[in-house]
């Protein structure tokens, strides 16, 4: 395999008596869609938080684009090309959808110590923002306050903000969380369209989506990766079945 | 060190209320004032500090519970800004009410006769008996709080609420009652501090705010939500304050003439606590022993 885009070695994170991440080992190849699955409490979100910099690990290393980012602050990782979406939509509720995406664009358009010119009419921010909204299918809702969007639309906006930063690695925490059937299908199509353009690491419970999208799957149990492989092999791995898929009654195989 | 004890009493109450109800209560200092006023008034009526104290404790607790049920309940769900503003309004109201009921001049409260002498713990170094009594009370309260929090059912509920409010409610506990009781306990501690402070400080309107800010310093240094933090914080602050007052003027006298040294020394000693706080914060923004990481 070529040089991995992100590689995680021996990652450890402890909360009091709980070892949430216990020697995690993970490689993300460029341009792949890599899914991380596991039973509840396996430590998936904790892992994501350490990748993005929200938590700092107690041990181990994370390398991104060859650089050691283990203790790098969150905002610096964003500038290296890592974008994150949150499990619970983390958007600016009182701003419009377009405002939200424009903010993401602004983050990567030099520094923001500009005090005089009104930003909301700055076309160098608004035009690219509208383009991204169009890509995720939200352009018709550009001027609606984010708090008035439907749940599915908010998840779309969440993704749009991440995309607007032109990332090399998109880290998605349950992009389809709480979505109905129709919305999920839309999101699935959207994510499929991104394949090859941007590397994606996603945590998901929706097994249907995972098996349709992922090039490789890593199974996380008790803070450790117990298997990393293609979907077909994971489906038939007895350890995985025992630990996780055995509990799932809704996977289609 | 009696400042340390008083701060501990204030800080425990405040940190309990904050840790459990997520309520920042600027009027906590007012409860301190109420305790002092009640004690002073009853003392003037009966001539006995002891009776004054026994009246001040439940009295302040009652006032606290009254305030909680009438005004503060609505604030639990509000933002911290709202709580700050509303309790600030409460301070204005209570201070003025006190002025109306008791007049603007300070009340006179004497050290109880039996404790007005000195005690020689270390031979050759007499220590005022009243101040020693305060320290002893502080130790008793600290031990009492430890048992309450660590060993009783109510303490368990308190600890559980501090970590996860919603679940405690879902378990069927009468959360409203728990909150009121906790607030009452905080008020009681504040009243105790106020009553004991009576003979040492001037019992006047506004005495609560000065100690409130110092209480905040204690909590910031010690860490919010933990009684241990309050203990550590109040001991540290008490020590720094004593050292500051004792040594600052002396240190400055090494560098400049005595008159100027006294002046700057005195002001710097009152600032020393805040400077200490700033240093601790630069090192540990969440305090030394916060309840949640």
């Amino acid at each position: 395999m070529t040089e991995p885009l992100m590689s995680v070695r021996n990652l450890e994170k402890t909360f009091g008596a709980l070892k949430a991440t216990d020697g995690l080992y993970l490689d993300i190849a460029p341009h792949e869609i890599h899914a991380m699955i596991g039973p509840n409490g396996a430590g998936k979100t904790t892992a994501i938080r350490q990748f993005s910099g929200e938590y700092l690990p107690d041990g181990g290393t994370i390398h991104f684009k060859g650089q050691n980012i283990t203790h790098l602050p969150m905002h610096k990782r964003a500038h290296l090309g890592m974008a994150r979406s949150f499990q619970v939509s983390s958007i600016f509720l009182t701003f419009t959808a377009e405002d939200n995406v424009a903010m993401a664009i602004q983050a990567h358009d030099g520094h923001s110590f500009r005090f005089w010119k009104p930003a909301r009419t700055d076309q160098s921010l608004r035009n690219p923002a509208r383009k991204v909204l169009e890509k995720v299918g939200l352009l018709h809702r550009a001027d609606i306050a984010a708090e008035n969007l439907s749940h599915g639309e908010q998840r779309q906006l969440e993704l749009a903000m991440a995309l607007a930063t032109k990332p090399s690695l998109l880290v998605l925490d349950e992009p389809m969380a709480g979505m109905g059937l129709e919305d999920s299908r839309q999101m699935l199509t959207l994510l499929k369209s991104l394949k090859g353009q941007v590397t994606i690491l996603m945590v998901e419970h929706d097994m249907d989506a995972v098996f349709k999208l992922a090039d490789r799957i890593t199974v996380l149990v008790y803070g450790q990766a117990i298997a990393t492989d293609t979907p077909e092999i994971i489906q038939n791995d007895p350890d995985v079945k025992a630990a996780y898929l055995g509990e799932e009654k809704t996977c289609s195989m | 060190m009696q400042l340390g004890v008083m701060l501990f009493l204030m800080a425990s109450g405040l940190t309990l209320v904050f840790g459990i109800m997520d309520l920042i209560n600027l009027a906590h200092g007012s409860l301190f004032m109420v305790g002092a006023y009640l004690c002073a008034t009853v003392y003037q009526m009966t001539g006995s500090f002891g009776i004054g104290l026994m009246a001040a404790l439940p009295g302040t607790a009652l006032v606290g519970i009254l305030i909680e049920t009438v005004a503060l309940r609505k604030l639990y769900a509000r933002s911290h800004l709202d709580q700050v503003l509303a309790t600030y309004g409460l301070i204005l109201f209570l201070n003025e009410l006190t002025k109306i009921l008791w007049g603007p001049r300070a009340l006179f409260l004497d050290v109880p006769g039996v404790l007005s002498g000195t005690v020689e713990i270390i031979p050759g170094m007499p220590y005022p008996a009243f101040r020693l009594a305060i320290i002893i009370v502080g130790i008793i309260v600290a031990i009492g709080l430890y048992f309450l929090i660590a060993r009783t059912r109510i303490g368990m509920l308190i600890r559980a609420s501090a970590t996860n409010r919603e679940i405690v409610g879902a378990l069927g506990v009468n959360v409203k009652l728990l909150y009121t009781l906790v607030f009452g306990l905080g008020a009681l501690l504040a009243g105790l501090a106020g009553a004991m402070a009576g003979p040492l400080l001037a019992v006047e309107v506004g005495m609560g705010e000065d100690i409130l800010i110092l209480t905040f310093v204690v909590i910031v240094i010690g860490g919010i939500g933990s009684i241990r933090g309050a203990l550590v914080g109040s001991i540290l602050v008490g020590v720094i304050d004593t050292l500051g007052r004792a040594f600052m003027p002396t240190i400055f006298k090494l560098f400049m003439n005595p008159a100027a040294a006294d002046g700057i020394g005195a002001s710097l000693s009152s600032m020393s606590i805040y400077i200490f706080m700033a240093i601790i914060l630069a090192w540990k923004p969440k305090g030394l022993l916060p309840a949640h990481a």
Binding site: R84, W116, M161, T165 | I275
Partner: protein, 331 residues
């Protein structure tokens, strides 16, 4: 370039502007010149309240120590004037700073000193959030209060009187009317600056940071720097208000730094409407007028002020201006 969209809000603002511009002449004509000084005070507090709204309403930073910068600005003017009258220097080492009564020298210095103070205090305080931040700003306010009380040379507890109002360059500013227009002009200038600020790229970052700081960092903003800058700008604004205040009362004392004054300014912001920028100025007017009126009826007017404040917080959260004209930057 100015799109004049005459909504009811704009009519209201226009009328207010005309009222304020004409006030001194109307007051003189009606022989009620007291109001010229009174409204100067309102304008000065208006600047302070607007500067607090920058960090409070738009940045979400609940600073209970904003009066520090007000007081520091006032003291710079006071101390320099004291030395100016004496003809002495403030300090002689490392550089000689002579006293002065020239506003063109001391007012920018007020702004600078307050900004530096805000930088120092903000750098430490802004590493914390939420309740810690509120407590720390309160503690620093107390500390600065003690500091200024200890300045025996400059009056200590009793304060320092100014011989007269500053002169602006070569022009005397002794008449109430000329001072009023200076305040009015500076108030307008500051308001316009703030308005541009909150709608600029910088302003949006500050607003975004208030609403969702983690999100902003995840996007790539180093929010600490932006919030600190906002804090410094607000401190500078309060410093300007302080310089004007020293001139208005011709007196500076540590009581200006008492945290109660910080509370007062906060009340002005909340009464007017958090996050509306011009609302707090109306709040300043409302509070000062309310105090005047209540004081006529009872010496215990603080009682009612406290109750009114509690009422506003519980039931009229968006303040006067906020409830009537704007959604505001919200909660």
């Amino acid at each position: 370039m100015l799109k004049l969209n005459m909504t009811s809000k704009n009519w209201f603002l226009l009328i207010t502007f005309i009222f304020l511009a004409a006030l001194p002449f109307v007051a003189t004509a009606l022989d009620e010149t007291f109001y010229i000084g009174f409204f100067s005070r309102i304008l000065i507090y208006g600047i302070a309240a607007v500067s607090l709204d920058l960090i409070l309403g738009y940045g979400g930073m609940v600073s209970f120590g904003h009066a520090i910068y007000l007081g520091a600005g006032a003291y710079v003017v006071g101390i320099l004037a004291y030395h100016g009258v004496e003809g002495s220097a403030f300090i002689n080492w490392p550089i000689s700073i002579m006293g002065t009564e020239n506003a063109l020298v001391s007012w920018p210095l007020s702004i600078l000193v307050s900004a530096l103070l805000a930088l120092a205090i903000g750098a430490i305080s802004l590493r914390t959030t939420g309740v810690y931040f509120i407590m720390i700003t309160l503690a620093f306010a107390q500390m600065m209060y003690f500091f200024f009380t200890s300045l025996e040379k400059y009056g200590g507890d009793d304060g320092l009187s100014l011989f007269s109002k500053n002169r602006v360059g070569g022009l005397e500013m002794n008449s109430d009317i000329s001072f009023y227009y200076v305040c009015f002009g500076l108030f307008l200038g500051f308001l316009i600056l703030c308005y541009r600020l909150v709608n600029s790229r910088f302003g949006l970052v500050v607003q975004g940071s208030k609403e969702n700081d983690i999100r902003m960092q995840a996007l790539g903003f180093e929010t600490y720097r932006y919030r600190l800058t906002c804090f410094v700008i607000a401190g500078a604004g309060a410093g300007l208000a302080g310089a004007l205040m020293a001139n208005q009362t011709e007196f500076v004392s540590p009581s200006l730094l008492h945290w109660g004054v910080s509370g007062e300014i906060m009340v002005m912001v909340i009464l007017g409407g958090v996050g509306t920028l011009v609302g707090p100025a109306f709040g300043a007017a409302a509070l000062l007028i309310l105090e005047e009126i209540l004081a006529h009826y009872t010496e215990h007017w603080m009682l009612f002020l406290g109750l009114i404040l509690i009422f506003v917080v519980l039931f009229a959260r968006r303040g006067l201006y906020g409830s009537i004209f704007e959604r505001g930057a919200g909660k």
